[in-house]
Amino acid sequence: MNQIYENVSKAIERSCGIDPSEISMSSFLFNDLNIDSIDLADILFELETEYNIELSVNDFKHFVARKLGEETPFEINGVITPAGQKMLFEVMPELPEELRGTRITINQVVSHFTVGTLCRLVEMKLAPV
């Protein structure tokens, strides 16, 4: 994971010019590092090149949905189901506790991505299915 963190930090530095000393595993991309969605696409492209994989912000959704199994829906019309929320909070402990039990949309989840979330996305993609 340390190596992945190094590479994620480098990708953020290359895409957004943010000094690695300002980046930590718990930094929120949008709120702490002031990254926007176009920056995020660029960071994902950098990581795709580094690891020769394809990344999408929706990968976390597919990962949680796979863990839930086919019988239990993760989301309905973009809104995460209670079962989906339960699993999501396990996979993404960085999600603010006050969101639990409220109506959470996929886009809201993306807005809470941290550097650690990106590291886990890469780790998930590298792991054998």
């Binding site: 176009i38 696409a41 660029d42 492209f45 795709e48 090149t49």
Partner: protein, 250 residues
């Protein structure tokens, strides 16, 4: 003049149409590697024969059968092209459909199909091509729109509005992708001597002077020349622009 695009990998959609064919030929003459995206193998072979007869050297021309209405098919085919050619440097979106009829007589599926072909298909392929272009920090995208995108359009309301959407998409996208050295521009041809314009030409008859200040139709090659220029590093500071090539439409 060296257009500085020798060996660049160029994708052209709508490659078997009048303007698309001229664009392929022009890029080949500049030494680029051209991948002619098409949906009909026979038409592609006919196009290849025709431009060979016109003197083009087709050793750098390849065909790619693609269903532009299927995002999955686009993704698969673009990935194949990137693997095969190592990169994609230039994309020219020339595929399109026109339906000429009073708006009140069009069905919902007519409207859908024109927007699908002219607008959504364009967006779908651009989305896939931006990925490799962003990674290599280089790319040029040219969307072929129409003079009808800003003027005229009686009897071609849906076509005109779908092309207006292409213009606006071009200028907005340019702002997003310029950070990765990707330029996006748009060309709006006027009345060009092609099969697609045949109905319009029949209506105009011998009255060209009344409609076009230069008094003649455009030739596909005259559009293709500008496509090559806007694709090449010679226009390296030009992005988000719409260039009208219409001989002075009146």
């Amino acid at each position: 003049m060296d257009m500085l695009i020798a060996n660049k990998v160029v994708l052209v959609t709508g490659s078997t149409g009048g303007i698309g064919m001229a664009i392929c030929k022009e890029f080949l003459e500049e030494g680029a590697r051209v991948i002619a995206i098409h949906r009909n193998e026979d038409k592609y072979q006919q196009m290849k024969t025709l431009i060979t007869r016109q003197g083009a050297d087709v050793k750098n021309l390849g065909g790619c059968l693609m269903d532009l209405s299927s995002p999955e098919n686009i993704k698969m085919k673009i990935n194949e092209q990137v693997k095969e050619n190592g990169t994609i440097d230039i994309l020219v979106n020339c595929a399109g459909t026109a339906i000429e009829a009073p708006f009140g007589l069009l069905s919902s599926s007519d409207i859908q199909s024109v927007f699908q072909s002219n607008f959504f298909n364009t967006l779908n392929i651009i989305r896939e091509v931006i990925r490799p272009m962003s990674k290599q920090k280089y790319g040029s995208i040219i969307n072929i729109s129409s003079a009808l995108s800003t003027r005229f359009g009686r009897g071609a309301t849906v076509y005109a509005s779908s092309k207006a959407a292409v213009n606006r998409f071009t200028s907005a996208l340019a702002l997003e992708v310029s950070r990765n050295n990707i330029r996006v521009n748009c060309i709006c041809p006027g009345i060009v001597n092609t099969e697609m314009s045949s109905n319009l030409m029949a209506q105009i008859g011998d009255n060209l002077d009344k409609f076009i200040s230069m008094g003649r139709l455009g030739a596909p090659r005259e559009i293709a020349k500008s496509v090559v220029f806007l694709s090449s590093p010679l226009s390296s500071y030009t992005t988000g622009q719409t260039l009208f090539i219409d001989g002075g439409l009146l």
